[in-house]
């Protein structure tokens, strides 16, 4: 058992294990995503008030949920690399940042697309969208800080500190924005979505959320593999892989 964890600390083993996991996780993810989308789009009834445009929640909500969870993955990986000096945790953190940022962007984009037919505007400053925007800024800050350092080991440590600071701040930011929105909310229109959701809509949503978690993991693993290859580009095991790929 301990040897397994110990092996995770070595780049070629982590690369291989990630590859094995991807081999079965990728098909499952695709099936879940496609299945969930089909279920949500074709096999559920249109919403009472919003008609068919509500179906975007099958992408919007999972993206938002996983974008937030992804930040915690990144911050915890950063903490592990900082406190226990495990170098591979550094790789996880660096790989998670762009994936999480992309999901946050997808959530914002789909939120805007949802807004247009429903409320007539491309952008509304409601609590969730605003919080997601701030989350995107937090992600971009981590990515920018990483790129600014020449010494990549220092970059990893700095980003770990920044992600932890962000992690502490996220509940504060979310609560503040929630509160801010309730203060300034125009009395007539309520932008926040349904608080009660019909079970027939809930189950495909849950499936999509699970599918997005799996998608995050797949993207994370693929990114990690790429990062490992880049970091270890001068070692033997990478040269062997490059030679093998070159022959194909």
């Amino acid at each position: 058992m301990w040897t397994f964890f110990h092996k995770l600390g070595s780049p070629p083993w982590l690369y291989a294990i990630a590859g094995v996991v991807l081999r079965w996780l990728l098909p499952i993810t695709l099936i879940a995503l496609v299945g969930g989308m089909i279920w949500g789009v074709l096999f559920t009834a249109p919403d009472f008030r919003q008609g068919n445009s509500y179906r975007i929640i099958y992408v919007h909500v999972p993206a938002a949920v996983v974008a937030l969870a992804g930040y915690y993955v990144m911050a915890i990986a950063g903490a592990v690399s900082l406190i226990w000096r495990i170098k591979m945790a550094d790789v996880v953190m660096k790989a998670a940042a762009p994936v999480g940022a992309a999901l946050a962007f997808i959530a914002l984009f789909t939120g805007a697309v949802w807004g247009k037919p429903t409320w007539g505007t491309w952008w509304v400053w409601d609590a969730r969208i605003t919080s997601m925007l701030i989350l995107l800024f937090l992600y971009l800050g981590v990515i920018a800080l990483y790129e600014a350092f020449d010494n990549k080991e220092a970059a990893g440590k700095a980003c770990a500190v920044l992600s932890l600071v962000g992690m502490v701040n996220i509940p504060i930011i979310y609560k503040s924005v929630d509160w801010w929105y309730s203060l300034h909310q125009p009395a007539s229109i309520k932008f926040t979505g349904e608080s009660t959701i019909d079970p027939s809509m809930l189950y495909p949503l849950l499936l999509m959320i699970a599918a997005f978690y799996a998608l995050f993991t797949c993207c994370l693993l693929m990114n990690m593999r790429a990062e490992l290859l880049q970091r270890e580009s001068r070692t033997q095991w990478v040269k062997k892989i490059a030679a093998k790929e070159g022959k194909r």
């Binding site: 000096r85 010494n151 080991e153 220092a154 440590k157 001068r234």
Partner: protein
Amino acid sequence: MSLSTAGTPLLTAQSLGLVRGGRELFCELSVEVHGGQLWHIEGPNGAGKTSLLRILCGLSRYGFEGEVLRSVTPLYLGHQPAVKALLSPRENLQWHVSGEGLYRDERIDIALGRVGLCGYEDVPSHTLSAGQHRRVNLARLFLSSARLWLLDEPFTAIDQQGVNETQSLLASHVDGGGAVVMTSHQSLQVKCKVHTLSLRHGVIA
């Protein structure tokens, strides 16, 4: 010269290794520094002497292999003189951020006199030259009560008389039971035994 090697070493380095830019600067470097020893780290330019010194004093905490243990707080004089241009030399020493000690005026006067800055104690440091800044930094050696000194090129931009003064100071510090680890291009002309640490070959003498 009988070395006071009894007791714990002031500084222990075990199997230090450093790779920078694909080049291995040093590996499996181990050294024990006891009171009463003067260590000279030698190596060509860019060989990693400053990096080694930074690892030994604790500024570099990761990115290298091996372990460093210090049993005392060292005094470190690095490449930069740590002199604030807006403060006078006296104020720089009085308000020094190394947290070492609160020095009385007379001691500061004596120290600045010893480094050849008599009469310059209270002028703003931005009027002083780079060499004079380095001498203000060296004045700390006369004030400090730290047992272990880690010095990076302490003789840079100092004239010959200053170099002689400093070398005799190092010798007397070592005689008094302190230890010095330093890098220098120049060969040392000190009255005590000099231990040499080569980056490539480890402990030579």
